[in-house]
């Protein structure tokens, strides 16, 4: 069994591109990833593609073959949908396909077009990742669900909106040098505290923006990479996925994410590493509280202790365990179906030294990507390592 190598990766600018179609966004990322990989497109054998709201935003289902065509491939193409974890789940399918010997070259990616339908319709579209009967009809929004989790966290473990504001300020600062990021603007803790409320206790700066964008990566086997003399030093050495009850109301804890616990445990076991071996991570911070829940589930912090990590400077770029050096979903942006592959690309670039924030983790060998869907009813975790 060969751990897949990342031969090429690309993301578009994340931001507002209301006039650009999903297929055009994905074509940009996919063609660039293929070009970077140095692999003949004729050698690609499959496409796994993440997308969440294509039916609502573009009246477009059946996006697998559409997107294969957009990047010039005639391969079996499958769209994977797991809300905001769609692309992370697509990565997992690609990893399995390479590992089980079904293919030597697989393209994985994702795209989302969101700003063309406006904030209200996008809020509506995002909400359907929740339980329609029991949550959406009770007025639940995506920020509202995370607000329920945040308030429950404060109640059970302590912490405050000010702690969350430090996470927002950190991730905005990280994104300042990331040209792909939607928001390259420094904010202070005070700015985040004073921003308008969306769903209390969460305000505008606790929330990721609504984003258009795409990401793609080309995965191959170690043998193929050697045979074709490819520059592909980073391998995906661990994959994990966990699930949970869809509705928050059906879970024993509102302030824990067991789907992420399960995904992390599986991915660490698969890679043969533990949380102490990890040099940095890209985690799913669609809301500031989500970063706290993620770093606790990933085993970097005990329950109740992740809340202070950013405030204490431990997860900043000069801290011991930098989290979201890309700016995270918070500042880099969150084109839902592309996010998991954008995280994969970021981790690969941080490990091979080509990311603009790579100087924060100069000798790193192990990075982790954590991609969560809905209120973490789906999670994938991938461990990536530099191979020599």
């Amino acid at each position: 069994m060969s751990d897949p190598r990342i031969a090429g990766a690309s993301v578009t600018h994340f931001g507002k591109h209301p006039e650009r179609t999903g297929r055009d966004l994905f074509a940009e990322a996919g063609l660039e990833a293929l070009s970077q990989s140095g692999i003949d497109p004729d050698d690609a054998e499959a496409l796994y593609y993440g997308n969440f709201m294509g039916e609502l935003a573009e009246h477009q289902g059946h996006q697998g073959p559409l997107m294969a065509e957009a990047i010039g491939l005639d391969v079996p193409a499958t769209r994977v949908e797991a809300a905001c974890a769609s692309a992370g789940t697509a990565v997992r399918e690609a990893v399995k396909t390479i590992r089980n010997g079904e293919a030597e070259v697989v393209v994985v990616g994702g795209a989302e077009r969101m700003t063309n339908i406006g904030t209200a319709a996008a809020t509506d579209a995002l909400a359907i990742a929740a339980d329609d009967l029991y949550e959406v009809r009770a007025g639940m929004t995506f920020p509202g669900a995370y607000a329920l989790m945040a308030r429950s966290y404060f109640d059970q473990y302590g912490g405050s909106h000010e702690d969350l504001a430090h996470i927002a300020a950190k991730n905005h600062e990280h994104a300042l040098v990331n040209e792909h990021a939607q928001i390259q603007q420094e904010i202070t803790v005070e700015d985040a505290m004073e921003a308008p409320t969306i769903a209390d206790p969460l305000g505008l700066y606790d929330s990721c923006p609504i984003t258009d964008g795409a990401a793609a990566a080309v995965l191959t086997t170690e043998a193929y990479a050697e045979e074709h003399d490819l520059d592909a030093p980073v391998a995906i050495t661990g994959t994990g996925q966990g699930g949970d009850n869809l509705a928050l109301q059906d879970r024993p804890h509102l302030a824990q994410t067991p789907a992420a616990d399960k995904a992390a445990e599986e991915a660490y076991g698969d890679a043969g590493v533990g949380p102490d071996d990890v040099d940095f991570a890209e985690v799913h911070d669609c809301f500031t509280i989500a970063e706290v829940l993620a770093i606790e589930s990933l085993g970097f912090y005990e329950r109740g202790e992740g809340i202070a990590a950013a405030r204490n400077g431990e997860t900043t770029r000069d801290g011991d365990l930098p989290i979201n050096l890309s700016g995270g979903l918070k500042a880099k942006g969150h084109p839902v179906g592309a996010t998991g592959v954008a995280q994969l690309a970021t981790v690969a670039w941080l490990l091979d030294g080509s990311h603009p924030r790579a100087d924060a983790v100069p000798d790193s060998t192990v990075g982790v990507a954590h991609n969560a869907g809905g209120t973490v009813a789906s999670t994938t975790v991938h461990v990536m390592e530099v191979q020599e």
Binding site: T119, A120, A121, T123, D124, A127, L133, Y134, E135, V136, R137, A138, G139, M140, T141, P143, G144, A147, L148, M149, R151, S152, D155, P196, T197, I198, A199, D200, P201, L202, N245, A247, L248, Q249, D250, L254
Partner: protein, 128 residues
């Protein structure tokens, strides 16, 4: 009111709440769920029976939503909460109380109300 087919046991459940005859489904190991549900996802038991919903519940978490979906445009700002009723928890709108005064642990009753924006039915909690 939106013209559409009824959603089976979900609408029957709302009917039962509306007529003060609320229930939940319980497996033989005491795990509680809301309908429609054929199996307990925790223990695989398929012997689910209807049990009376307790008359009052406790707010487990709440939020005041100021940026709603279009279906709640005229309702905003409104409070959405999860309330625990014995072995089952329910998500609903908190009404008849100032949003600033809603707190975890508050005791509420369950009712069916209407969404301001669409007139559709919704689960409503009121202080008891």
């Amino acid at each position: 009111m939106t013209e559409s087919a009824r959603d089976g046991e979900y609408d029957e459940w709302l009917d039962s709440i509306e007529s003060d005859d609320g229930y939940y489904l319980e497996c033989s190991n005491g795990h509680g769920w809301l309908p429609p549900r054929r199996v307990c996802p925790r223990c695989h038991d398929q012997e689910l029976s209807a049990v009376d919903l307790p008359e009052s519940g406790e707010i487990a978490s709440h939020t005041t939503i100021t940026v709603p979906t279009p279906q709640f445009e005229d309702d905003a700002p409104y409070v959405t909460a999860i309330a625990d009723f014995g072995p089952v928890s329910v998500t609903g709108l908190v009404r008849d109380v100032d949003p600033d005064d809603v707190a975890i642990g508050d005791v509420v009753g369950i009712d069916v109300g209407e969404r301001v924006t669409t007139g559709d039915r919704a689960v409503v909690f009121r202080p008891r």
